[in-house]
Each structure stands twice: as C-alpha cells, then as structure tokens.
C-alpha cells in the first residue's frame, strides 16, 4: 500500500497534511523573503508561472504523447495579446479579468490552427514541424513592426498594465494586518491561485473519459481509432487545452514583467519547459510540478557556488555562471540515465507493484 493510499484511508492525517501544505504555501513568500532575499520571492513567482506552462505542455506531450517543440508560441501569443490590449502601444487598456479568459480563448484557437496541419505526423516529424511553428510565431512578432506597426518589433512592448482587480493594482505595495505585501508577494498569490486551478483541471482531466482517450492515442493510435476514438478531434483538443494554459501563462507573464519582447520566446524556452515535463515524469502532475521546481530553483541555488568558492579557495576558480550550466546539464543527463521515466513516474507503473491489492468495493455488477 502506498503512502498516498494510506493517507486516503486516514482522513484526519490527510486533513492535517493538507492544512500543513496550505499554510506552507501561504507563508512561503515571507519565509523566502526573510530567510533568503526578495529576489527569491520573484523566483517563486516564476516557478508558479512555469508550473502553469509545464502543465499545459504536459497535456500535449505527457497525456496525448504529441512531442511539441513549439509550445512557447502559445506563451508568446498570450503575452502579446495581453500586452497589445493593455498598454499605451495602441492606447487600449482592457481590464485584467477580461484579458485572461480572452487570452485562453485566443490561444485555444491558435492551438487548433497549429495542430490541424500536424495531425498526420508523429514523433520526430511532429517535433520538427512544431519547432518550425514556434519559430514562425517568434519571427512574426519580431518583424510585424512594418509596414504597419503591430508588435513594435524587436523593441518589444513597454509599460504594460499590471494585473489589477478594480482599483487594486498588484504592482503596488499594500498593507494588510500591518504586513507589507509588495508587488512580488501580490503576484505570488495570484500565480498560486491560478497554478492550483491549473493543477486541479489537469487532475480532473487526467482521470476522465477525455484523459483516457488522450493516453490511448499516445499508446497506440491505430487501436484508439479502432476503439471508436475520433483521434483527430481528441488530438486537437489536447493542442487547444495545452495552448490555453500557455496563453494564460503568457498573459500573467506580460502583466508581471510590464515589458515583453520576442527575445523571451525563443526555442530554448520551449526546450526548458519540455525538460521540466520530462525530468519530473511525463504525464504525472506531481512529477511535472517537481520538475518545474527543480529546474527553476536549481540554477538559482547554484549561483551560491561563487561565494562558496571564494570562501574555500580565496578566489574564484571557475566562473559560477559556467559551472552552473555544467552542473545543471550533468544533473539532467544523470536523471535521464538513471530514471528514464522521470523523477516521479506516472502512477500506473507504481500501481503495478501493488498488484496484489484487490479491487475497491462496488464491483458487484452484471453485464
């Protein structure tokens, strides 16, 4: 019996764990602020943002098995949509609460548009085509400043409206119970709530008729077709759902940063998000979250190597920036060699080891 199942059968322990995690998540930015530094709160914000993106990509790659190397395109579309409709660039200032669902909707359509031509492709070929799409979007954004200036080209869009609800701007410091909630703290709670929503949606989808259809397509597309699954629609649905998460992430990113340019949406960004999904355990939500946390926190934590070297040897032998990427790359290679299914492989494989367990009750049924 796994620890998780034990928890399920012990509701009191489960509630205690739940409350503990909730309290921890609630005070985490203040812990990071006091124990480490303000910049760590910002890192936490980014971790949460990447959780939204990675879980979106997880639907496409992890659930449906469609290797998408151009995922950042949806992130870019969401970010630019928000930036163009809430900045002095066009002089349009739509409210935040309207832009977020709109971003999800528009990127959904982009997901279908980019997904449709790739339906017959699989594996390597799909990866190449989606990679191309990702680049096309970025190059468009880079060049759509002439003859009509839409995206402002490589200079990017500046002075984007911060996320705000009514008069409550997340960019200002607010005081509550005598505690200062600065911009990064405010965004932490916004990203946390949306991140939790995305986790919730992913979990519900995974354990549903649609989720099973996605996995069936991933496992064997021909058999899935023969079982009556309309693979075209179910793949487009995966692209659309994944893209909409990316779009929401993009909108949040634009509001948080206040400035975006095509440089933020390069291929390496797609690859980083893919690494997060694969490293943690493709198709497993907890694994993806772990992958994100590691890949966001690890490179930042490795910055401390510099002072450490200084203290140990009196001078810096290896530039921490170089060493950081070296250790990072090595860690990725080791994980993939020793845990090819990811740090937290999906539950089916774990369940296999608990094979002797009988089925839960409510089995007495007839055909």
């Amino acid at each position: 019996m796994s620890r998780w199942e034990k928890l399920k059968r012990n509701p009191r322990a489960a509630w205690m764990a739940f409350i503990l995690i909730a309290v921890l998540l609630a005070i985490l930015p203040f812990l990071a602020d006091t124990l480490l530094s303000r910049s760590w709160v910002r890192i936490l914000d980014f971790a949460l943002l990447y959780i939204i993106l990675a879980l979106g990509l997880n639907i496409v790659v992890g659930f449906a098995g469609l290797l998408d190397l151009g995922y950042v395109a949806f992130f870019a579309v969401g970010a630019y949509l928000y930036a163009l409709l809430a900045s002095p660039h066009f002089g349009i200032h739509l409210p935040f609460w309207a832009l977020l669902p709109m971003g999800a909707g528009v990127t959904c359509i982009f997901g279908v548009l980019l997904g449709a031509p790739t339906l017959r492709l699989r594996g390597d070929y799909l990866a190449i085509v989606t990679l191309g799409f990702g680049e096309i979007i970025r190059i468009f954004l880079n060049n759509l400043n002439a003859p009509v200036n839409i995206t402002n080209g490589p200079q990017g869009v500046n002075k984007i409206d911060p996320a705000s609800f009514g008069g409550f701007s997340l960019n200002q410091t607010h005081q509550l119970f005598g505690i200062d909630f600065t911009s990064v703290h405010n965004y932490y709670y916004l990203f946390l709530s949306l991140g939790l929503l995305v986790v919730f949606i992913s979990m519900r989808l995974q354990d549903s008729r649609i989720g099973r259809a996605w996995v069936a397509v991933r496992e064997d597309e021909v058999a899935a077709k023969a079982m009556g699954i309309n693979t075209r629609n179910i793949k487009l649905l995966a692209f659309a759902m994944g893209a909409s998460f990316g779009g929401v992430g993009g909108g949040l990113f634009a509001g948080f940063q206040g400035f975006i340019s095509p440089e933020s949406f390069t291929l390496i960004e797609s690859i980083m998000i893919l690494c997060m999904v694969v490293l943690g355990g493709m198709g497993n939500i907890a694994g993806v979250v772990l992958g994100v946390v590691l890949l966001v926190v690890l490179p930042e934590a490795l910055r401390y190597i510099g002072p450490f070297e200084q203290a140990l040897f009196g001078h810096i032998i290896v530039d921490p920036a170089d060493l950081r990427m070296l250790i990072f790359g090595l860690a990725l290679i080791l994980v993939m060699l020793f845990r090819p299914a990811g740090l937290l492989p999906s539950t089916v494989r774990k369940r296999e080891f608990a094979g002797e367990e009988e089925m839960p009750a409510s089995n007495e049924v007839s055909t």
């Binding site: 919730f200 949606i201 519900r204 989808l205 549903s208 008729r209 649609i210 989720g211 099973r212 259809a213 996995v215 069936a216 496992e219 064997d220 021909v222 058999a223 899935a224 077709k225 023969a226 079982m227 009556g228 699954i229 309309n230 693979t231 649905l237 759902m241 999906s346 089916v348 494989r349 369940r351 296999e352 608990a354 094979g355 367990e357 089925m359 409510s362 089995n363 049924v365 007839s366 055909t367």
Partner: protein
Amino acid sequence: MTLLEARQVTKRFGGLLALDEVSLSLQNGEIYGLIGPNGAGKTTLFNVLTGLYSPDHGEFFFDGEKLPSTKPHAVAERGIARTFQNIRLFGNMSALENVMVGRHVRTRAGVIGAVLRDARTREEEDGIYSRAFALLQYVGIAEYANNLSSHLSYGDQRRLEIARALATEPKLLALDEPAAGMNATETAGLKKLLEIIRGDGVTILLIEHDVKLVMGLCDRVAVLDYGRKIAEGAPQQVQRDPAVIEAYLGGVLA
C-alpha cells in the same frame, strides 16, 4: 438477416492486388471464419472493413447501410469492433483502463464535465467503471484488473483485447487470429468464450489458422487466396474443396 455484406471489395498496394473483388455476406448471429494461406489478404480485408484502409473499389453494407470507408471511429460507432493479429493494447494502461477506453464511443462526457465532475458525469464514470470490470470478469481476467496490460500473459492479452472490443457494444466482433500463440488448453478456453459471446447475440468474423478451432466453431467459412475468394460454405464442405487443397498444398501432382 444479413448483418454485413461486402460487395466486390478491391484493394491494391502498388502492383500487388491484395483484395480482388471480394464479396461475402454474414448473417446475424453466426460465426463466420476467414481462412487462407499467409498473405492471402485476410487482414487487409479487416483493415478495409474497419476503415483503416480505404478500398480502391467496392463497399461494405452493415445493418442495411453503407459503411464509411475512411473513418475507423465511425465504423466502431456503427457497431463493429476488432482485435489485432499483433496485439495492440494500450501498454502503459492497466487492464481495466484498457477496457474503459473501449467505453469511449458509448459515452459522451467532455472537458467541462470532466473538470466540474457533475452528477451526470459521475454517474457515467461509475457506469464505465462497473461495465469495464464486469467485462473483465466476463472474459475471465478480472484478477489482473489493476495490472499493466503489457505485463499480462499472451493469452490474457488476447482476452483483454476481446474485452476491450466488447466494451464498444459491437454487433459484429472481428477477431484477427485470436488463438495465435495459445496452447491447446488456452485455445479450448477461447472457443468456449467465443461461443458464449455468440450466445449473447454478437456476430463474429474470425480469421484463424488453427484448423481445429475453425472447424469446430464456425458456421460458415470463406477461403481467400491471392486476394480472391476461392471457396465458401460449411467448414466440412470447404475442407474437401479441391481449389482449397490446391491453395494450401500447391498444385497437387501437377
């Protein structure tokens, strides 16, 4: 009553004529065997029937209506389910989940239902679960419900494929060499299972090399050779057909 009718179905792969104007008809409730030497076109016929390939010529009528030729999911929805010669299970899903996927075509919950998990969706999900489990019991592998399908024994994988196909509530079950790789005991068990399935009102189209199984089980048999139907009739009658003997053994004393 005729359930399935193939009319002059032709399929070419480049210069190879895989199916040459094959016509046959299946009656409701019968077990119809399809035999022939390797490469005779049996599996091709299955693939054309289930919409995985489109025929170059000819068509299928099922339950009085024309079958769509390039939409496998629509064929499944109309009531034709199949198994595969080289077992095609969803390897990283449990046995139970494999059968639950088979319920897809008879259920309708979408994204919104999945996320909100309203009363109707929960009820449907419970139905999928209990039906899938009942089907595992039906084919006799309920004890492995939570095992990965790729970890089942060969014979059990074949049974699981049948359970998954039955989950789509087919009128016609098309089995591609279900006894391949089974020992005598397993084959006897399979025969019993197929008889039960037929008893429950499902028509069966069977590709099989095990002559004993075909002779003991099928009501009628068609023989394919080089893409043409060379004989059709009761098993014993077909067995004595000179054209069939020639196809299997080569031109005798030629």
